[in-house]
Amino acid sequence: MTNLNKKEPAKGAIKRPVFPFSAIEGQQELKTCLLLTAVDPLIGGLLAMGDRGTGKSTTVRAFASLLPPIKAVKGCPYHCDPAQPQSACEECRTANKLVSETIQVPVLDLPLGATEDRVAGALDLERALSRGEKVFEPGLLAKANRGYLYIDEVNLLEDHLVDLLLDVAASGENLFEREGLSVRHPARFVLIGSGNPEEGELRPQLLDRFGLSVEVKTPQDVASWVEIVKRRDSYERDSETFLEQWKDEEQKLRGRIEAGRKKLKDVVVPDAVQEAAATLCIALKTDGLRGQLTIIRAARALAAFEKQKTVALSHIKRMALPSLRHRLRRNPLEETGSTARIERAIVEVLGL
């Protein structure tokens, strides 16, 4: 296969290691939801909307370095899972022997204004020019397989890229049919989007693709600001020492993600809890079944993360807002925000 690294010239030395996830002050809802997507990737992505400068991108980038490493087929551009040949790419499926290696979970930035070639892949220039061969050169979708794809300002993403993402998100595969090439490769990733709602809306189809959605706000009290500034300042002055101080916290959190993943399949969802979630969704008139599925998945992941054996109503209550907030049908004349409507419904339906 082509050498992926060659395509990305060295982007200058990155001066500092990433700010540790556990040292991020506040942003509880965002942090919890990110962690849950790591416990159960099937929850289906996370949308974080909020004003500029609320630390959305910082949190997502910090999260990337927190994720426990995974095993992948060595040399495979899609980092296929050697233990799951049924979802691997064609080459890995047909290979006799797979050598595996441990890699960091891929977390890729999809910058606004990226070309379709960079995202979906393109004809391999090297082979085409030097040997006249038609070979596929994987794009961001391939590199993000089994990992995360992060789009800042997702609400400003160009339409043709949104279409591309929707296709891939629905099927978990990238079908590349262009330039006389026909390639199909796995592209299962967790989509993380962030943006400022004042600057534009998300297309409803894309909105629906996000499992969870979080409203990010900056705290408005002096004490939290001081804590943010203090931590950030000591990190910027001496990042080595700072990282050393937070190493244990990071390790503990990483351990909890791994423990949660193991526990996940054993967590029981009682019928009464299923019913309560359904009643809540019906009361809120959410579109389709995705809301109902997401709330159960998220509640189960939360229970696993908190070392519980069964999902309780309290888990449903806590995951109702992020799972449903973006799924309420919008009435242009309705002034009440989604958050308030859900909170009211929780009280009325669940009696909590």
Partner: protein, 552 residues
């Protein structure tokens, strides 16, 4: 070292010292030469700024395939991007950077990878820097800097910078001061903290109240959204004249936890405030508030480089275009036996004549400009219905990714309530706050909508103007009540639309169809739609059909 030097000169010293750790600055066009000279003086040879054009492609920043070399060597050759090769960049006419470059530059700034100087013309109302970049540049330079700092002084300060600590108490005070003047994010306090340390290092002392106050003035003051709370009492009056001594009676009205120091910082900020506050009053919105964001939010089209491919064409030069590899190779193939013989090689020989680039089709963005008559004659009857109709169309526009803008006219003049946006939230808010009553300055309303339509078209969009009125103009452009003149002016204003060939619609909101509204539609060569007891969705339907045809 304590001679009086101006803020611009301080900023030059700080950037020469802090470099990419401080991010960069916005520099006004007319002082850029002074800035460059002073900055060059302060850095060692080779540390000068690399000036780049704002129309550069994203590949120029991130690096890409060097086509000529690739063809020459028969294997891929990559060029390094500016971000890697030139960590100190100056971008002229920075408001023209496209979204792709903006994203890359912000990412690089987040990683403290580059120092960025964005040069802009402060007198050009359309020169607005993408909010994303603007937030990452702590300083604004709008006065000439002097070549005060020498590279030797800066080098010495650099060795001190690592050991310059800041007392947590100052952080506390900076946070309190920032919150008091309505600063939106702790990011700016962090910039101020880093700046305070750099100032102290330049002064060869530890961080003290002087350096903290100056950092607040340089970094926080120009982002103030409101005056410090102490001024609330006299806020209704004019902003204080610049010369006013900032001490009179300010100790009583205190909301800060530790008044002494936070107030000291506020004083420093306040000294820099009056000019900005005057601007605030004049613009009606924060200089860096909502008004700035919308332009940053609308991604600029970049020469038809995005969208779907519909074919390919011969390319004389490749400047920024996408090479269609397959077509190029296909074109080169028949010549290979001959060329190989001529060149005496068995490699593939591709020449410039073979290059083919993709032709791109881009969906043209439609912008619906609503001109809503909120005068007394309309308001009493149909303003609510008109609002409802607009809201329904808004919801439709947002599904289809069209943009909307809102002009309202009532009383003596027309007003742009909402510049083109895709945000349903903002449109809803602007509409909800629209009061009714007063005369009908129809000509002014049409003028405003016309101006906006011209702007949209110039930016490459497709405007469609929707006027909701009963057509009964009775206020002239100058705001006087004179039906005859008002009618004449309305006619001439309407004919401008016909002359430009703008798509337009007049929705008659009076209970019975009015001749005046029909005449207006004729003059504009617009579609005329009476709204006789129609519901909001009845009006919305024809409009959405029209929008679809515009953006197809």
């Amino acid at each position: 070292m304590n001679e009086e030097i101006n803020d611009a000169t301080w900023i030059v010293g700080l950037l020469a010292l802090g470099g990419s750790d401080l991010g960069g600055a916005l520099v006004a066009t007319e002082v850029v030469d002074d800035f460059n000279a002073a900055f060059g003086n302060a850095t060692e040879p080779g540390g000068a700024l690399r000036i780049v054009s704002s129309t550069m492609s994203a590949e120029a920043l991130s690096g890409s395939v060097d086509l000529a070399a690739t063809l020459a060597f028969g294997k891929p050759v990559y060029t390094e991007g500016l971000l890697a090769t030139h960590p100190r960049l100056m971008v002229r006419r920075a408001e023209r950077l496209d979204v792709a470059c903006t994203s890359l530059l912000s990412q690089a700034l987040d990683r403290s990878q580059i120092l960025l100087i964005a040069v802009m013309d402060p007198f050009d109302p359309e020169a607005i820097l993408a909010a994303k970049l603007e937030a990452r540049l702590p300083f604004v330079v709008d006065e000439p800097a002097e070549p005060y700092w020498t590279s030797a002084v800066i080098q010495r300060a650099k060795t001190r910078l690592g050991n310059t600590a800041i007392d947590p108490k100052w952080m506390q005070d900076l946070c309190a001061a920032a919150l008091a003047i309505g600063i939106s994010s702790p990011r700016f306090v962090l910039q101020a903290v880093a700046t305070a340390r750099a100032i102290a290092a330049l002064q060869d002392k530890q961080v003290d109240e002087g350096s903290v106050a100056m950092a607040a003035r340089l970094v926080l003051a120009h982002r103030a959204q409101n005056a410090p709370p102490q001024q609330q009492d006299d806020e209704q009056q004019q902003p204080p004249p610049p010369s006013q001594s900032p001490d009179a009676g300010e100790t009583e009205n205190n909301t800060e936890q530790n008044p002494g120091d936070a107030e000291l910082i506020l004083e420093a900020i306040k000294a820099a405030l009056p000019a900005n506050l005057l601007n605030l009053a004049a613009d009606g919105l924060g200089k860096r508030g909502a008004g700035r964001n919308f332009k940053a939010a609308s991604p600029r089209k970049s020469g038809g480089q995005r969208g779907r491919r519909i074919g390919h064409k011969r390319a004389s030069s490749l400047a920024g275009q996408r090479l269609d590899i397959l077509a190029t190779l296909r074109n080169a193939a028949p010549w290979q036996p001959m060329r190989r013989k001529l060149a005496g090689t068995d490699r593939m020989v591709v020449t410039r004549d073979d290059f083919r680039v993709s032709r791109i089709k881009q969906r043209n963005e439609a912008t619906a400009i609503f001109a809503v008559d909120a005068s007394g004659s309309t308001a009493f009857q149909r303003l609510a219905e008109a609002k409802g109709a607009v809201e329904t169309i808004l919801a439709e526009c947002y599904v289809r990714r069209d943009r909307v803008a809102l002009v309202a006219f009532r009383g003596k003049k027309a007003e742009l309530l909402l510049p083109p946006t895709r945000s349903l939230e903002r449109a809803k808010r602007a509409l909800a706050g629209l009061p009714g009553g007063g005369g009908t300055p129809l000509a002014s309303g049409l003028d405003e909508a016309y101006g906006l339509a011209v702007q949209v078209r110039r930016a490459g969009g497709n405007p469609i103007v929707i006027v909701l009125t009963d057509g009964k103009a009775n206020i002239t452009r100058s705001g006087l009540g004179n039906k005859v003149t008002a009618l004449e002016e309305t006619q001439s204003a309407a004919k401008l639309f016909a002359a430009e060939g703008f798509d337009a619609m007049v929705i008659d909101v009076s209970p019975e169809p009015q001749k005046s509204a029909r005449a207006l539609a004729n003059n504009m060569q617009a579609t005329y739609l009476p709204m006789p007891r129609a519901s909001a969705s009845d009006i919305a339907r024809p409009v959405s059909v029209a929008l679809k045809s515009v953006s197809a």
